[in-house]
């Protein structure tokens, strides 16, 4: 099939200044670590070292939690909601003003295409702050008191641990509602993507946010564990793997700490024979190849009605051949780099298991760059429900295709997973959409669309995809209490 040739259209890196090394952001200042060490963050598309960052130790966690507590007990806790909200509006505006800088930095550190960081991650991050800013002085109108008559109150110090797939966006999902409700925050970005969180610390400084309201601790799993287990933390908000989520739920058992957990998924994207097939194919591509498939709600299982399966798969493969895989900073790039060597190894392992278990592998023919971490968009057919690639979250650009005959069979297969984060339905029949949406045990259901996000729209899972919601009125609830004694 003939393809247009594209000239490279690289976004300029000049807009970003990366410091050679970063300390920790505690109490409104960048400080040296007390007991941590340094590690390097690299660009996954080139393996170039971008900067040295600090792996925060236990004493650093202690200092950050203390700074957050001091701010909560002090100026921030006494600030009227309307004034608190203004800080969030300021942050939203600064994110918009510096959007391109953030987008380039995110693509460098994460490996995602600039088209996505520029058009999705950063605008949505700003939108989250703008949305939640307005809640700060309206909490008593949010309907969260449940008849108790007690106004919502902040919980205190919130420990937040976020993943590497949407670094700044996940930061905003965590920090914006926490601050709007009057809490203070200690946030740990993922070890492979710390840079936009550190740039966000500068935004807090530009906004004159009082010191200690937001503290950023870079580090890996051990830093996160210290934070989660710190007795001075009142609430944990975590986005990441189900395995770690279970460990967190276990570690806070018997305490008064609260938790919201946004964990893994294995979403079914269900295509009926009456769907607009070309639109559905776009939805399938968006569902699993958006952000290299590093999406907890990715549509990683395609359930396609048997009588249109051959047609859908043929058109899907044709479409995948037009995807451009490569330099994340090229504006024409559709699929960027896998975030890390470790993740690439996991994707390769599971893909090999898929072949070994008898599924048929097809990868889009594309020339992958020599340096960096890459995986071609891949589709497995002849997949059965018991295959690992139909059960395990791969978290990469790998689609498993299964078929069904009746809506009931589609529902049974879609729900046949311990996860329950999201699902997709493609059909032109409205009544079927509503019936299917009722049957699917998932927190987000996209009908004739996929991977849409909005600050007003609650997001979160059923079953082992975690608990609590982020976004909207429901997300706010995770950051307040209306208990009598506190």
């Amino acid at each position: 099939m003939a393809k247009f040739e594209y000239a490279p259209a690289p976004e300029s890196r000049a807009v970003v200044t990366i410091r050679p090394s970063y300390g920790l952001f505690i109490g409104g200042e960048f400080v040296e670590s007390v007991d941590g060490s340094m590690f390097k963050t690299i660009s996954p598309s080139s393996e170039e070292v971008l900067a040295e960052v600090t792996e925060a130790g236990e004493a650093d966690v202690e200092a950050a939690v203390r700074a957050a507590r001091t701010a909560f007990d002090g100026s921030w806790g006494r600030l009227p909601g309307a004034e608190r909200g203004k800080y969030l509006f300021r942050i939203a505006r600064i994110l918009q003003e510096r959007a391109r800088e953030f987008a380039v930095l995110e693509s460098l550190d994460n490996g995602k295409p600039i088209r996505e960081s520029r058009d999705v991650d950063i605008p949505l991050a700003a939108a989250h702050f703008f949305y939640h800013a307005g809640w700060a002085d309206k909490l008593e109108h949010a309907g969260l008191s449940g008849g108790s008559g007690r106004p919502p109150k902040p919980l205190g110090v919130v420990g937040q641990v976020i993943p590497w797939n949407f670094p700044l966006l996940m930061l905003s999902w965590k920090i914006a509602p926490a601050l709007a409700a009057g809490n203070t925050v200690v946030l740990k970005p993922a070890e492979t993507t710390p840079l936009t969180a550190l740039l966000f610390a500068e935004v807090c400084q530009q906004a004159d946010l009082p010191g200690g309201v937001v503290n950023i601790l870079t580090g890996a799993g051990q830093t996160g564990r210290h934070l989660v287990e710190h007795p001075g933390v009142d609430k944990i908000a975590f986005t990441g793997s189900t395995l770690v989520g279970k460990a967190i739920a276990g570690s806070i058992a018997g305490t008064r700490k609260r938790a919201t957990l946004e964990l893994g998924g294995k979403a079914a994207n269900i295509v009926f024979d009456d769907a607009a097939i070309d639109e559905a194919v776009e939805g399938i591509v968006n569902g699993i190849f958006f952000n290299q498939g590093h999406v907890c709600c990715a549509g990683s299982r395609l359930l396609v009605q048997e009588n249109v399966a051959d047609d859908v798969i043929m058109r899907l493969k044709r479409r995948l051949q037009t995807l451009r895989v490569g330099d994340p900073l090229d504006k024409n790039t559709d699929v960027g780099a896998i975030n890390s060597a470790a993740q690439l190894a996991r994707i390769r392992d599971l893909a090999q298991i898929g072949e070994a278990e008898g599924a048929t592998r097809w990868s889009a023919p594309c020339v992958l760059p020599e340096r960096g971490f890459w995986f071609a968009p891949t589709v497995f057919t002849d997949v059965s429900q018991s295959h690992r690639i139909a059960q395990d979250e791969i978290f990469g650009p790998v689609l498993s295709v299964l078929t069904f005959r009746t809506p009931q069979e589609a529902v049974a297969k879609a729900n046949n997973t311990p996860y329950g984060l999201s699902a997709g339905i493609w059909t032109e029949k409205g009544s079927r959409i509503l019936w299917m949406a009722d049957q699917l045990r998932a927190g987000v259901v996209w009908a004739n669309t996929f991977n849409r996000f909005d600050p007003t729209s609650p997001f979160g899972g059923y079953k082992e995809s975690g608990y609590g919601r982020e976004g909207g009125r429901h997300g706010l609830e995770a950051y307040v209490t209306t208990e009598a004694t506190r």
Binding site: G146, K246, A247, G250, A442, T449, T456, G460, K463, G472
Partner: protein, 312 residues
Amino acid sequence: MSPTAARHGATENSAVKDQRIKVRKTYKLYIGGTFPRSESGRTYEISDSRGTFLANAAMGSRKDARDAVVAARGAFEKWSATTAYNRGQVLYRVAELMEGRRAQFATEVVAAEGLTPARADNVVSQAIDRWVWYAGWSDKIAQVLGGVNPVAGPYFNISVPEPTGVVAVLAPQRSSLLGLVSVLAPIVVSGNTAVALTSEQRPLPAVTLSEVLANSDVPAGVINVITGRTAEVAPWLAAHQDVNAIDLAGAAGADDLVWAELERASAENLKRVLRPDVDGADAVEPDWSRTPDLTRIKAYLETKTVWHPKSR
């Protein structure tokens, strides 16, 4: 004369007159709409608040708990799909039937909790009224807790609350009837199904309630009642992989039970855990006479958000 003695006295006097021996009730489990004995064959002695023998209750086992979870899972699909209007009427019907058995419940609450007849009567009234209160919530939950979200794009976006699934509940140890109703009704009103582990020492009102449920319109399996040792059975429910949520209210005052361990076991499949009220580190039983808020209803709900494009 103690309330218990008054009750027994009256019965025995008439028995003497009529030369008739009272027919006692066998207190059994309630699983999937039937009344089995414990598969373990065990029973334990239940006494009234003064130590007088009342009955041998079934001592539920791990297997009984598992059977109850199977029954609850089997009932979930249909119960959760029942219309809110219908579910409300089903809960209201429980109140109607309890009203007709007021005397029996009051007598059992007197025996179990050592209350005066007047106070026990008041407790029964509150338990009945609690069903009515929750019954009225069935068709309001979605309106109060759900809503349309104004997303920045051409999409219709709606969030609705849905039941989480099978809920295990450790019923309160002290409040044998009002406490039990106060934890059960908020589970089932939204379409969840329940496995209730009754008060260990005061299980008899719960068994009588299960007899009411069997004659009500509550479908078999929607509410299952296990009597027995809380510390023995609760860990199996907390660790059960097909239980979606657990209410630890009955950890307060339960012998040999550490609720933190139940919460830890619940993490294995990420159960939604409703922790007990605490005073310091110790679980305490709340005052069930207070009008509830939405806390218990919300504890067993999931929010589902559905997106659909708008286009011509």
